[in-house]
């Protein structure tokens, strides 16, 4: 599935499309160059899931977690992970990345290339491509 984005309003629309596209799948990888808008997209997704706090960049903290109440009224967690600062797959394993990848909660991973061999088979892959004049193309697989 492909979407074109020209504004922040389009982005909110894309976030809901992405959640619908994913269905029951809860693990997402996000690929796109720095400044493409990966964190901004995840921020919008968190908001739509019902997270009350504002999701900020996890580059320094590596993993940010947020709670929300899901449609069944149950407290649930979203993990926003950024592997940008890691260099070796062992570092991700030592953080306990597999617990997050194979748990029941939503998990959004920026810079996932490092842990390619660990990613679950039902992963939703998202790519953000920067085009000219502030346009962006979103690809979901």
């Amino acid at each position: 599935m492909e979407l074109m984005i020209q504004s922040l309003t389009d982005l909110d629309h894309a976030a809901s499309q992405l959640l619908a596209f994913a269905g029951e799948r809860r693990k997402f990888s996000l690929i796109g160059e720095m400044g493409a808008g990966k964190t901004t997209l995840i921020k919008s997704i968190c908001q739509q899931l019902g997270v009350q706090e504002i999701a900020t960049s996890p580059t320094f903290s590596i993993i940010n977690e947020y709670v929300y109440i899901d449609v069944l009224g149950k407290q649930s967690t979203v993990y926003h992970i950024d592997l940008y600062r890691l260099h070796r797959i062992e570092e991700a394993v030592n953080i306990g990345i597999e617990d997050y990848l194979y748990g029941e909660h939503y998990c959004f991973i920026e810079w996932p290339q490092l842990i390619a061999p660990l990613l679950p088979p039902d992963l939703v892959q998202v790519e953000i491509k920067l085009l000219d004049n502030s346009h962006r193309k979103l690809i979901f697989l």
Partner: protein, 331 residues
């Protein structure tokens, strides 16, 4: 009263000894400590803390000339931070406190950054404003009392230090690039006008600036492939000027709204020369008293944890053995 402080919330493992309100030692696991114990410095990883924590605590005790039997309390960072990293410090602190049969004190890492201002003179008068600005955080804190603080403004996306590092990366300066941007900016002129984000109240945003620089560079390089080589210093100066003006404009607004003239900065980005200069100049212009802690107390360190624990000890605020770390820890 002697307190051991332990910090393990993110990359660095640190331990410090405080006695009667004075810091006697502040150690951060580094090459020297590792050479003493024959290890190597691991990269970013929570397991690294397990390798670091014993040598760093021993070194802090030795440097301070304190025997562990003389400790009156053990303080540790409970959060915010990376769960796996926090767990190491929390478990170590609990075990040691149990073994020595002394109280435990849990500390909020972000409050500790603010309280680093009480390690050395000159110390701010209460109430004061503190802009805590680092690779992971950007917030304005209204400090009413040592343990009574309120976040009145914060970043909605990237931290200011992250903006320096990531824009530096776009300029091929490596990562983290903050100090390099600072150095090159001194050789350039801020002649490129990057936009100032229009964010309500006292909150910050730096993500748009990163994207603006990305598009700006793409455009310029299209017209002149040597643009980066010929204009790097000016781009650094322009980016730095904008980041500093975003921070200072909100800090001025906070001072205006609260009527407070005691203004402090904390966190790793307080090492940035342009931010220090801007704080100094604005302070002179508006009649503020301004404060910046020594650099070793600005980056993540255990001295600030011990300092925060000193205030908690005086109020009898101790943790119990069932305390657990918390990745998110607001105040």
């Amino acid at each position: 009263m002697t307190i051991l402080g332990i910090e393990s919330s993110c990359d660095d493992t640190s331990a410090a000894i405080l006695k009667e309100g004075k810091i006697l030692s502040n150690c951060i696991a580094n090459q020297t400590i590792h050479e003493l114990y024959g290890g190597v410095v691991p990269e970013v990883a929570s397991r690294a803390h397990q390798i670091n924590i014993l040598p760093v605590v021993e070194t802090a005790l030795n440097q301070a000339g304190i025997n562990k039997k003389d400790l009156d309390a053990i303080a540790f960072t409970r959060g915010p931070g990376l769960m796996g990293s926090l767990l190491v410090g929390v478990s170590f602190a609990k075990a040691l406190a149990l073994g020595l049969n002394i109280p435990l004190i849990e500390v909020n890492h972000m409050q500790a950054h603010v309280l680093a201002h009480f390690i050395d003179d000159p110390k701010p008068q209460l109430p004061f404003l503190c802009l805590t600005v680092s690779g992971g955080h950007t917030q304005i804190v209204l400090v009413k009392d040592y343990l009574e603080m309120q976040v009145i403004g914060q970043t909605l996306d990237d931290a200011a230090g992250e903006a320096f590092d990531k824009i530096g990366k776009l300029l091929n300066l490596g990562y983290p690039a903050g100090p390099i941007v600072d150095r090159l900016a001194k050789l350039g002129t801020p002649r490129f006008a990057f936009p100032e984000p229009q964010i309500a109240e006292l909150d910050f945003s730096f993500s748009g600036l990163k994207t603006a620089v990305l598009y700006f560079l793409k455009d310029q390089i299209k017209q002149d492939e040597d643009f980066m080589k010929n204009n790097l210093n000016d781009v650094c100066a322009s980016v730095q000027a904008r980041i500093v003006s975003i921070l200072m404009n909100k800090l001025k607004k906070a001072a205006e709204q609260t009527g407070i003239r005691e203004v402090a900065i904390a966190g790793g980005v307080s090492a940035n020369s342009a931010l220090r200069q801007a704080l100094h100049d604005t302070g002179e212009q508006l009649g503020w008293n301004t404060y910046i802690p020594a650099f070793q107390y600005c980056t993540d360190n255990a001295a600030m944890i011990a300092m925060a624990a000193y205030f908690k000890y005086q109020q009898g605020l101790f943790a119990t053995q069932d305390v657990t770390p918390t990745a998110r820890y607001t105040f």
